[in-house]
Symmetry: C2
Subunit: 180 residues, 2 copies
């Protein structure tokens, strides 16, 4: 699923500006499964407009750039439903954190500890984000995503707390061996 399609999907939930779409991918429900930069969102919206899948209503503001509010068209709705029928592509995941873990034997122990502490805090922030998103309305999809996000983040926090000694003791053992 590319930027084009996710933009369509978000617009199928309601009209939005490019900025708001990016924000949804950064702080809304879509942040749990997608993210994209302006550099791909704006060209995507321009192309979707060309193809008649969305329309653009330009709200002229005084003294600042025009707000371009995009809305999905019936053709866009149909194109989106269609694209949901195409086979799912595999998840793509890239994690500096897990890479750091894998290569942690080449890392100063103090830095490793800092990274682990930071990571726990990040998971806690995401739990808080999910709590905030969960207030109010709830489609079945959102309810599923909410609980999914909660469980994953809780597991990660618990796992790091329980297993960090595997990494930190590994370092200690190596130090003891080196001391012999």
């Amino acid at each position: 699923m590319d930027v084009r399609t996710v933009c369509l999907g978000i617009l199928s939930r309601g009209s939005a500006t490019g900025y708001e779409i990016q924000k949804a991918m950064k702080e809304g429900w879509p942040s749990l499964f997608f993210e994209a930069s302006y550099g791909s969102i704006y060209p995507a919206l321009a192309k979707l407009t060309d193809e008649g899948l969305v329309t653009c209503r330009e709200e002229t503001e005084v003294g600042r750039p025009d707000r371009k509010v995009y809305s999905i068209t019936p053709e866009g709705d149909q194109a989106f439903s269609q694209s949901l029928l195409k086979p799912l592509t595999p998840d793509r995941y890239r994690s500096d954190f897990l890479a750091m873990i894998y290569f942690s034997d080449s890392l100063p122990p103090a830095l490793l500890q800092k990274y682990l502490d930071d990571r726990i805090r990040e998971h806690q922030s995401e739990l808080q984000l999910i709590d905030e998103l969960s207030e109010g309305d709830q489609t079945p999809g959102e309810a599923f995503l909410m609980e999914w996000g909660r469980r994953i983040n809780q597991l990660c926090i618990e796992f790091i707390a329980d297993n960090r000694d595997v990494l930190e003791d590994g370092v200690v053992v190596q130090q003891a061996e080196a001391a012999e």
Copy 2:
């Protein structure tokens, strides 16, 4: 952490060809946190060779393309250790599966069920991969990644089994409402 750096990291564990590096990112431990295509791996290795961070020993084979075995140099080792000190970039995650969940109200119920079944099977495959990787040697980082991967995949399987009715019943309820 870009392709360059991960290639360096993999080479710090032992010499390899471009093909083997790609395989490690697809089927080895690195697959848990990184993936890259040939289109980025080969140029990265060429550039690293130019910069003297890796060396390339060309093994001429009879009747097939030369095997280019890359090895890390002391400068490469140092560059890699250095790059581990740079602040971690946030994880990047993109999931067609979770997107499909979020938009599942626009999806035929039968297809939703198929996607959920497929997903459980994918998680089971990954559990099997982790079991295979876990045979033999084990650095602290690998032990941590192993258990991390196991727990996450187990949680996902269990969660889908326990909560799929939230999505599927949602659909059923909508059908009942439509029938009135």
